[in-house]
């Protein structure tokens, strides 16, 4: 199973490196506006074809590009109920603090667990290759974090049940 991880991340990295080529673009629909075109979606010619990279049915990444912004949505592997709950809570925790993450979107795109929105303003301030490194690192670490949390939940449940039942 883990033999698919490296090619999967490599494909995501190369797609991101190409899609993160963004430039400042004033809106051609509303005067004096400058909005991320991937969110506004009014001019079809400014949007790139969305690309989905799937590792398997459950894990995939959707990359939607445009002339001045890029949206990356990740679907995280959730094998059972506990993982679903943990994932939902973890993602919600991060999305509520989206301002501190700068590139995080407050709501995930339909069908995915978490979304990032990178605009030309971010690529002007930050190194593009480091932003891509961050996203890839995030994808690698998220699975590890989820398994750790699941183990922690299970061991806490066992310890507290033991302590409780000692009384009987």
């Amino acid at each position: 199973m883990s033999t698919t991880l490296q090619p999967y991340l490599k494909a995501v990295r190369q797609t991101l490196t190409a899609a993160i080529c963004l430039e400042n673009f004033s809106s051609q629909v509303v005067e004096r506006h400058n909005k991320p075109e991937v969110e506004v979606r009014t001019s079809k010619e400014l949007l790139l074809t969305p690309v989905t990279i799937s590792r398997n049915e459950k894990e995939k990444v959707l990359i939607e590009g445009s002339i001045n912004s890029l949206r990356i949505s990740i679907a995280i592997k959730q094998a059972d109920e506990i993982e679903k709950i943990l994932c939902h809570k973890f993602m919600r925790f991060m999305m509520m603090r989206a301002e501190n993450f700068i590139v995080l979107r407050r709501k995930p795109v339909e069908g995915y667990d978490i979304s990032f929105l990178i605009t030309n303003f971010h690529t002007e301030q930050m190194y593009k290759h480091k932003v891509v490194d961050f996203i890839i690192h995030f994808m690698e670490e998220i699975d590890k974090e989820m398994s750790e949390m699941k183990l922690a939940v299970n061991s806490r449940a066992r310890i507290s049940a033991e302590e409780f039942l000692k009384r009987f």
Binding site: S26, S43, I67, Q125, Y127
Partner: protein, 356 residues
């Protein structure tokens, strides 16, 4: 060795040299235009022009008449004339309702053209009777924002690239200010806004930069599908396309009749030769021959691991520009025999390259 100068951390949006490269007009991603003096490799700020209310998107300095034209996202353009050290603006009535994206003086400097998000190119000329600059618009059949434009050396033809994936050549002949146009091998016409040719690179991508060669017989442009296209007017508007494996290019410029320099998201300018087909010659930035940053010290690595949990300390790129190159400009030698080239990027640097 490329000569690099930094203007801070903000990206340089646009720039233009004066006639003898002693002064530079540039904008660092805001609504101001800075006029900097360049003497003996040192910079000193001379003036700041603050009439625009939004980000300045295009600057062009007319070398012969010493006037500057600037355009911004606030839908305005100003023509600046220097009187006793101060620059005074004249507002240009463009009549566009979206941001202006690029501006260029015509070779004879009696007209200038402004591209805009309004899906049109506004060609402006001076109306002596009313003492102001008026504009005429080229609209058909541009279907999206005009991103770049360049004048043909004959002062009549104009090429523009747009986000509708096409590069077009139009006639910008204005009978009030121009002489009768001489026939050119792009076609002959006496009508303003006549479309001389419309080109696209097959699937196409947003056109980022466009340039006529010094003779005007070749037109090159670069698009977001990482392609470089050249149209040859000497051979019946023959179109040559090369799809490169690099990241898309943002600007292209002719350095002589058979060579172009392209630069863009790859942060490194590259040279291509054109002789019936485009061939890659080399990169101007020799990243390998540059001194290696040296083995990172163990101390630095442990420090990074402790403070940021980072396993590697290498963040800077191996090239002179640390971020996208946005605009290329001839520094010495003209388009016929360019010996030095200047480039600016979103890393706030201006670099002067030697062309061998």
């Amino acid at each position: 060795m490329p000569d690099a100068h930094s203007f801070g951390v903000d990206p340089i949006t646009c720039y233009s040299w004066n006639k003898d490269q002693t002064q530079l007009a540039l904008s660092v991603n805001n609504n101001e235009v800075q006029i900097q003096n360049f003497a003996n490799g040192k910079w000193s700020l001379k003036n700041t022009l603050t009439d625009h209310t939004q980000r300045v998107t295009g600057i062009d300095w007319a070398s012969k008449s010493n006037r500057i034209v600037t355009c911004a996202a606030d839908r305005n353009a100003y023509v600046w004339v220097q009187e006793s050290g101060k620059w005074s603006p004249t507002l240009v009535v463009l009549g566009i309702t979206r941001a202006a994206t690029c501006v260029k003086w015509s070779p004879m400097e009696n007209k200038f053209a402004v591209g805009s998000g309004n899906r049109c190119v506004a060609v402006c000329s001076y109306d002596k009777e009313n003492n102001w600059w008026t504009s005429k618009k080229i609209k058909k059949p541009i279907r999206s924002t005009v991103t770049c434009l360049d004048w043909h050396p004959n002062n009549y033809l104009i090429a523009c690239g747009s986000t509708d994936f096409k590069a077009r050549v139009y006639s910008a002949y204005i009978k009030e200010v121009d002489e009768k146009p001489a026939p050119s091998n792009w076609g002959t016409t006496n009508n303003f806004a006549n479309l001389m040719g419309e080109f696209s690179s097959e699937a196409g991508g947003w056109v980022h930069g466009i340039s006529f060669s010094a003779s005007g017989n070749h037109l090159a442009w670069v698009a977001h599908d990482s392609s470089i296209c050249v149209v040859d007017a000497n051979h019946g508007l023959k179109l040559t396309i090369v799809k490169t494996e690099y990241l898309p290019f943002m600007d292209v410029i002719w350095i002589n009749e058979s060579s172009i320099i392209v630069a863009g998201y790859g942060c490194v300018p590259m040279r291509f030769n054109y002789k019936d087909s485009l061939t890659f010659v080399g990169k101007l930035d020799d990243a390998d021959s540059k001194q290696q940053p040296g083995k990172v010290s163990a101390m630095a690595q442990f420090k990074a691991m402790d403070s940021r949990a980072a396993t590697d300390v290498e963040t800077t790129l191996n090239s002179t520009h640390q971020n996208t190159i946005v605009q290329l400009s001839v520094f010495a030698g003209g388009k016929e025999r360019c010996t030095k080239l200047s480039s600016v990027g979103t890393d706030g640097q201006i670099v002067i390259w030697d062309i061998k």
